[in-house]
Symmetry: C2
Subunit: 410 residues, 2 copies
């Protein structure tokens, strides 16, 4: 397919992608758009001028109404927008609604209902187990039986580009007699893939693995900022809390699930066999996404998503198997994406082996954990149809000094 809007050869947003987002131009009013090449198309006015039944869903300040409408509407809207951008007959009507992306501001694309964070990379969980519990079995006994997860703070999910203040909190090293309060000295990132729920479900009605495409609208990138020192002190017995809840950044463009069909690959072998409600033999959603993490422009890791032990479809089935209901805007993230190689690890805790092996950048700087002013950017691409490469855009954020002052050196 050849779109008529100019698109660079290597754009993350060719016409086979068409991710949705929310943006504003000079007037500050949020609008719903689709990214195409270097542009964004405001889709509502075009849909309304064509009298389309779903046009009303494309106005407003969030994607939630469109997300709630379900796969039939998602497919119809995608087919329409594709035709607008590839059939020159539509050009005159569509072109006035095309804006340059570098001239608009991105907003949080959807209102987050509940946020759940999983822990589904075997390599990540194994590395973390080795770091925190050296000498013992790195994976907990439940890890290969269910996708471990927990609820995070939905109210602090922020859009890419929002600065992140270094959090303060209680930390206590193993040899400290008592905890001290202060800015985190072990501020980290976690590169993750997020699944965005569109269609809600009823309380008491589990969603099977095969229901994934009926409920999930699309995929985004997630940076689950983590303060490792705060997390370590608080986490036993009820799990991560303030070590995570200060900020979770998401990419501004939600890639429709339909665009990722060519990225589906066979899932990893699960041994032992999973319980029937997690069996994805008939409907696997392992996805061949290639992530990249940059710190201050230096590539520090390229985590592969395909080897993730648990897929988004299995995570959804697990999340609801107890009867928990879904709401439009529920976001659940994969957990840190780490591959088997050292340069495929998805967080600094692993990349620097808990700070003992600093990263060295070509400019001579070194990092164990993040310094004030550091900018972290996570990107990802996926195979599209016919050799085209689709991008998931990027999630980026800069570390700001703590309002509680600079972290002491420990």
């Amino acid at each position: 397919m050849t779109p008529w809007p100019p698109a660079p050869h290597d754009t993350p947003f060719p016409v086979e992608n068409l991710p949705y987002g929310v943006f504003s131009a000079a007037d500050g009013r949020p609008r719903i758009g689709v990214a195409i090449g270097d542009h964004v198309l405001e889709v509502g006015p075009v849909a309304r001028s064509r009298g389309l039944s779903f046009a009303d869903l494309l106005f407003g300040s969030t994607l939630n109404p469109l997300m709630a409408a379900g796969p039939g509407t998602w497919r119809a809207a995608r087919a329409e927008i594709t035709s607008w951008l590839t059939d020159p007959a539509h050009r005159a009507a569509v072109e006035p609604h095309l804006l340059r992306r570098d001239a608009v501001t991105s907003h949080l694309p959807f209102e987050v209902a509940d946020y759940v964070d999983f822990y589904s990379s075997e390599h990540h969980a194994t590395n973390v187990g080795r770091i925190f519990r050296p000498g013992s079995e790195p994976l907990t006994p439940n890890w290969r039986h269910l996708p471990i997860g927990y609820h995070g703070r939905a109210g602090t999910v922020i859009v890419s580009g929002t600065p992140v203040a270094r959090p303060a909190g209680q930390r206590k090293g193993p040899s400290d007699p008592a905890p001290a309060f202060g800015p985190s000295t072990r501020l980290d990132i976690e590169a993750e893939v997020g699944f965005v729920v569109g269609v809600p479900s009823d309380l008491g009605r589990p969603v099977p693995v095969s229901g994934f495409r009926d409920h999930v609208f699309g995929v985004c990138l997630v940076n689950d900022w983590s303060a490792r020192d705060i997390q370590a002190w608080e986490t036993v017995p009820l799990g991560p809390f303030l070590g995570k809840s200060f900020a979770t950044s998401v990419s501004p463009w939600v890639v429709p699930l339909e665009a990722l069909e060519p990225a589906r690959v066979p899932p990893p072998v699960r041994d032992p066999a999973v319980l029937p409600y997690l069996d994805d033999a008939g409907e696997s959603w392992a996805l061949d996404l290639a992530l990249e993490i940059r710190i201050n422009g230096h590539v520090v890791s390229r985590p592969p998503f395909a080897p993730m032990y648990w897929t988004g479809a299995q995570q959804l089935a697990h999340l609801t198997v107890n009867g928990a209901s879904l709401r439009t805007g529920d976001l659940y993230a994969s957990g840190t994406v780490s591959g088997p190689e050292r340069d495929q690890r998805g967080c600094l805790l692993e990349l620097t082996w808990s700070g003992t092996e600093p990263l060295e950048f070509p400019d001579g700087t070194r990092r164990t954990f993040l310094e004030d002013g550091d900018e972290v950017t996570i990107t990802a691409t996926a195979p599209g149809p016919g050799g085209v490469r689709l991008g998931l855009g990027e999630v980026t954020g800069r570390v700001m000094p703590s309002p509680a002052g600079p972290p002491e050196r420990r």
Copy 2:
């Protein structure tokens, strides 16, 4: 004060209480009301007829707009409503908006933003530690330094009276070779007190202990239903997830913080001393609430709230000290309320010592954990002004059979 609406001597809702809720009458339309004796007053129309500036906040299907308006408006509205109900001059205008409470249906009173569950009863945490880790120190090293908490699922917070289906999930006993899937056989309750956030806060700006009354609108009762077998298997390393996320019930009436001023008591001694951000010497919010738990009408426990180690004000300060923002509708719960005595324990796990000491009811029935059809009701009262007793209403729910079939006997 003597209200003109008839109120039984022992009503939980005397005119000194005036909790807010959302109800519907025959037409099914949700309206905002205040409970008084055996009645509920629809407050919006009265406020509008009197031309009050806050009248618009009292229409709609949730308390969120009123909650967001802040303490000045809360005080003004409460003073107005008090005068409507005590000054006979208002009777003719107010009485047409008074409905019998037994003729209306209660709805979830507010839209829940984020839900956090704490773990702040020393007796509960100690009992749980003894049950799960016999022979070792029952409290984790961090317990007396910070209010342990975690995020729960906001989307499955339901109003009192909503039936609760027995959840299914993975369970694995210590001697089982592998996990099995099925309905929970250890379904439990947790009696808790919930704090409802009204005024939001900015990302990056911690709310101090002294900010409690500027942000918290009121208090409700919470039953944090828990499937102990599902919880036990999943909880290491990231905390409770599906063992809790199937349902959390809340009482329909939110008691304004102002009504609870007479219930404030000195907090327990904290040893070791807490870090400055948790110091509540100048602004303690320990509350002398008396809870009661009934199962199928039999009183099984009377947990006291006053000895809770961490107060709602400290929990709020901790929740935000890392810069996490608050939203209108955030709900955070105290954690299971257990006192020092056996008949003051707030959950069946403790009351039956993990099922080894069944409760025996006067009718000859016994319980370890909940059976299908069981109805659990939690109530609470607080001292009001001049010896009046205020009620927090009740949170009740009946256990329905699992859609996955009856639990096997294990």
